[in-house]
Amino acid sequence: MHVVIPYVVGALLFALGVYGVLRRRNAILVLMAVELMLNAVNLILVTADVSVRAVLPGTGGVFALFVIVLAAAEVGVGLAIVLQFYRMRRIVVVDEVRLDTDEERVAG
């Protein structure tokens, strides 16, 4: 198989993820774009298993599994933060989050 195809697919998916993180204003859509980037990295790790001769065979797959677990933890905590912030302020748009008012509230 020509290994360059999945590599290029991974690169394009990563670029789409970067574009989405920079473009989107809704926090949940930003998290979706982050998932795209993590998947691109996973795809490249699994492809590297085929194309790169490693000391331990199957390391790319193991790392991909680890990244999947990390992504699950990340999305759990991230969505908990987004939902809690929505409950406090009714805001899901990243641009409208004001950090200075929080500091005043905690200090006062």
Binding site: V18, I28, G58, A71
Partner: protein, 171 residues
């Protein structure tokens, strides 16, 4: 072009196409469903690349859990059902940076691997991957279990309003 190449091209086109729809769609919920299609196509790519267990874990964890969690959050934040007008920032800086990253990485990979043919891997079994995880990578595995536990506790603490907020009001 072998069968594997055709499969890789087709699944890659599906993954990239629906990925593009994820980041450009004006419907919040449709973005989530396009994400399902993209992640499913990536799972198919794993199967072609011989990483069977990773493909099924991808379907279970990503398509099964993460996307459901994301759609759940979309619903809990009272997202409008129709298209939303104010989802995006101005496109130009994001497009420039995204295109730069994409072109750079693509050039890097094309230059590194060219159009060379690699032997198809024999389909990896869960047994071999399990030997790797519990042999060479057992310490990262344990660290990861601690991380999952702390993420679980953190998510519970964050989403319970009666733990953190009351102390701030008392003080």
């Amino acid at each position: 072009m072998t069968v594997a190449d055709v499969l890789l091209l087709a699944l890659g086109a599906i993954a990239v196409g629906s990925g593009a729809l994820v980041v450009t769609s004006t419907h919040l919920v449709r973005s989530g469903f396009y994400l399902v299609v993209s992640l499913g196509a990536i799972a198919g790519l794993y199967l072609v690349l011989g990483a069977e267990l990773v493909a099924w874990v991808q379907v279970l964890v990503y398509v099964g859990a993460v996307v459901v969690l994301l759609l759940f959050a979309v619903m809990l934040t009272r997202a409008p059902i129709g298209p939303s007008a104010d989802l995006d920032r101005p496109a130009l800086p994001a497009a420039v940076i995204g295109a730069g990253v994409g072109l750079g990485l693509t050039a890097l990979f094309v230059d590194a691997f060219r159009w060379t043919r690699f032997p198809s891997p024999d389909p990896g079994t869960a047994e071999r991957l399990g030997e790797q995880i519990f042999g060479a990578w057992v310490l990262p595995f344990e660290v990861l279990s601690i991380l999952l536990l702390s993420a679980l506790v953190g998510a519970i603490v964050l989403s319970r309003p009666d733990i953190g907020a009351r102390k701030a009001e008392d003080a």
